[in-house]
């Protein structure tokens, strides 16, 4: 139940740490695309990750540092 929630879309990742989330809804109200919702337990989760543009506003706004948004760098071998 307290496992890290991980969403991905191509090389972009959105992670929510439920143990840190207090359910204040700041991310829900700040999300420009309406991707995030509060679930039955009062924790943030992504409803429709396909809508997410990975702008990172939720990460910047979260007062409890529960969200991280990042892009995975594909390491290119040096000989390519």
């Amino acid at each position: 139940m307290n496992a890290m929630k991980r969403y991905e879309q191509g090389e972009f990742f959105l992670e929510i740490e439920p143990r840190r989330c207090k359910g204040c809804g700041v991310c829900v109200q700040s999300c420009p695309k309406g991707v995030l919702v509060l679930n039955g337990e009062g924790k943030a989760e992504a409803k429709d990750i396909a809508q997410c543009v990975f702008c990172g506003i939720c990460e910047q706004r979260c007062p409890d540092f529960a969200i991280s948004v990042y892009k995975v760098r594909v390491l290119q071998p040096s000989w390519v």
């Binding site: 009062g42 910047q60 706004r61």
Partner: protein
């Protein structure tokens, strides 16, 4: 002003304010602190007046601050900040410090509007180069919702209760941003936690000016205001949309309005979700609602007149 991605990258390298503090869900203070500290590029030293922010972020033996931080009493946050700044200036002149350092003082509205006002006024007048941030949650929330100079007219608090002969706080709130602007300091701004980019830009600008800067940030409090904890940003935005808390800045004595709502909402939109104003919606208090709307309109008109020569940024 850097964009979101740059701010995120900067925070990844050095997180100045960290999580796992004990501030309530729906509290505006951590949002305000996080945004402001991350927006300032230079190294910072933080001075923290007593209040919720200090109590909840530094529970022994842990701390949520990853920067040099000093806790001082309610009344002297600005005085201590000016002392640190003076010592820094002397050390810099002697060549013992070479880095640019910024000094940020955080105080609640009790420690700024009421108790710390004379220390703040003195520090602003002496012209120390520091940023004073008042996170204004409109009462002494840390000690149990007592009225302060920032509490709005007719709000219910534990020392201004509602009863047969009283309707909450009978006085109007004082306008601290205008008091700070009257010190002729280079930068004064009023911001809200709902408009984070505006807040980050103002913090950046406050760090850039050579002299004192003052930020007054509306910060919601779910316990004192009585709204559901998941509505913090919405409540703060309603305060801006109803023109109760206009976003403006005073740069070198010139007034700039940052945001004009497309449609000015009636003040009841902001009052209705809050339990501290619940008594105003009883039929015998209709006159009070009218009075509040009149006060807000009057203040907004006055502000527009001050800003009218300068177009909105």
């Amino acid at each position: 002003m850097p964009n979101t991605k740059e701010l995120a990258r900067r925070e990844e390298m050095h997180q100045r304010f960290t999580g796992a503090h004990a501030l309530c869900a729906g509290c505006g203070a951590p949002i305000c602190v996080r945004t402001i500290l991350n927006a300032i590029e230079e190294p910072v030293v933080v001075v923290n007046a007593t209040g919720c922010l200090e109590v909840a972020t530094t529970r022994y033996p842990t701390t949520a601050w990853n920067v040099p931080w000093i806790h001082v009493a309610f009344e002297n946050a600005a005085a201590v900040a000016s002392g640190i700044e003076t010592a820094y200036r002397v050390l810099r002149r002697r060549g013992k410090i070479s880095r640019e350092i910024r000094f940020v003082a955080f105080g609640g509205d009790g420690g700024t509007y009421d108790i710390g006002l004379q220390a703040l006024s003195g520090a602003l007048e002496r012209g120390h180069r520091f940023i004073y941030v008042c996170y204004d949650n409109e009462a002494y929330m840390n000690t149990g919702n007592q009225r302060s100079g920032a509490t709005p007219f007719a709000a219910q608090t534990s020392t201004a209760p509602v009863g047969e002969r009283s309707f909450g706080k009978p006085q109007r709130r004082k306008d601290l941003t205008e008091i700070a602007a009257a010190h002729h300091i280079p930068y004064v701004a009023q911001a809200s936690i709902s408009d984070w980019y505006d807040l980050a830009r103002k913090a950046r600008q406050a760090a850039a000016v050579d002299g004192p800067a003052f930020l007054n940030v509306l910060s919601t409090c779910p316990r004192g205001w009585g709204y559901p904890t998941d509505q913090a940003v919405k409540i703060a935005r309603l305060a801006v949309e109803t023109c109760y808390w206009p976003l403006y800045e005073v740069i070198e004595g010139r007034w700039y309005l940052n945001y004009i709502p497309e449609e000015k909402l009636p003040i009841t939109e902001w009052l209705r979700p809050q339990k501290r104003f619940a008594h105003l919606f009883e039929p015998q208090n209709r006159e009070l609602l009218h009075q509040i709307q009149q006060q807000v309109d009057e203040a907004w008109e006055k502000l527009l007149r001050k800003c009218e020569r300068y177009e909105a940024l």
